[in-house]
Symmetry: C2
Subunit: 215 residues, 2 copies
């Protein structure tokens, strides 16, 4: 069992007790990710070697790959809190109501947390990096796709609708969110501040307008 970090000792409820080992693990993970992000920013992705990252953290290269499958993914560390919150909201989806508006509520909530919370500043660094590092952007796209797949299949279960139909809707929304994040990042590049939620709403509205203009 190499990569997937399944909490092998999860006795009862929720995130009650992370356990000592688990906490250490999270800390190392975070440390690696931070160092990686720093180095990527200062030297560029392809002028940073895994050995370098591992060395700075004080860990062997072999261990690096026990935490992250690829060099790029080290920068793409997710936020457990946020993901759990999303999971909860997804489970609360009502099958009898239209899907897209319910998804939009979730996305707005995610973007709100990002824009306001501590995590936002970190994510902004990552998204800015993506503008100049194609392989990092690609890794991000892959991650997006995995999330879209997981989300779509779960929603298909919940709503009872065909997998493909749900997937289309989720992909659509995902593209809009990604677009908002891109605008957010490029704006920051120019030292402009751009409200993330507003960017999302604008994109969402633009899509509707464009489709309406058709006929």
């Amino acid at each position: 069992m190499p990569e997937t970090a399944v909490p092998s000792v999860a006795p009862s409820a929720g995130p009650a007790e992370p356990g000592l080992r688990e906490r250490r693990r999270r800390q190392t993970e975070r440390e690696i990710s931070d160092v990686a992000l720093d180095l990527f920013e200062s030297r560029g992705l392809d002028h940073t070697t895994v050995d370098e990252i591992a060395g700075r953290v004080g860990v062997s290269p072999r261990t690096f790959f026990r935490y992250f499958a690829t060099k790029e993914s080290a920068a793409l560390l997710g936020n457990a809190d946020l993901e759990e919150r999303v999971g909860t909201m997804v489970e609360a989806t009502r099958p009898e109501q239209p899907l897209l508006p319910q998804l939009e509520v979730i996305w707005r909530e995610v973007l709100r947390v990002i824009a306001e919370g501590e995590e936002g500043t970190r994510l902004l660094r990552v998204r800015r990096l993506m503008q100049h590092e194609p392989s990092l952007r690609l890794a991000g796209l892959q991650l997006d796709e995995e999330r879209v797949s997981a989300l779509a299949s779960r929603l298909a279960q919940i709503t009872g609708r065909p997998d493909d139909d749900v997937r289309l809707v989720v992909e659509l929304g995902s593209a809009v969110v990604r677009h908002a994040l891109d605008r957010w990042a490029t704006a920051a590049e120019r030292d402009e501040h751009l409200d993330l939620l507003a960017a999302y709403e604008a994109a969402s509205t633009a899509v509707r307008a464009e489709l309406a203009a058709g006929r």
Copy 2:
């Protein structure tokens, strides 16, 4: 000048005379791509080495990388004819008319050519492969993104609209096309035939319906 195949000797008009060297080049390129696709299908992407592909073609591994930047991209050889046709249609875009319907005309045309033409069978093989080979799918996503970027920036020039707005529309359509191609490929996996154009229309309609259901 390593990778980009710029026709160094392009005297006058269009695709008049490919020139002997150019023809050789195209042939080798095609040959490599065919062998790569065959091997990927029979052994799987990660059980196929570049040395193997190059060996079968009768070319050195070094030369392989002069034709394709990565192993995966060898399978993703584009169709020059089709790309040129798209280019022409893009140039004919009318700025004063709504963008999306015009794009839809182009996509329908592309999908029609794919579904009917010789290239379709090859593309189908590639898309089927993508269902099982994540890294190939990823390479495809990257290619899509490059095409989207190029198309969006050209359309922004032509229409005079902001780059970001155009990009959003193009990304949207691209996602729908990709969705249709995926359904096409997965249907073929089950030995069912699925009309590519019909799948596209269905997806397009579904998107409108979903957005309309919102409010």
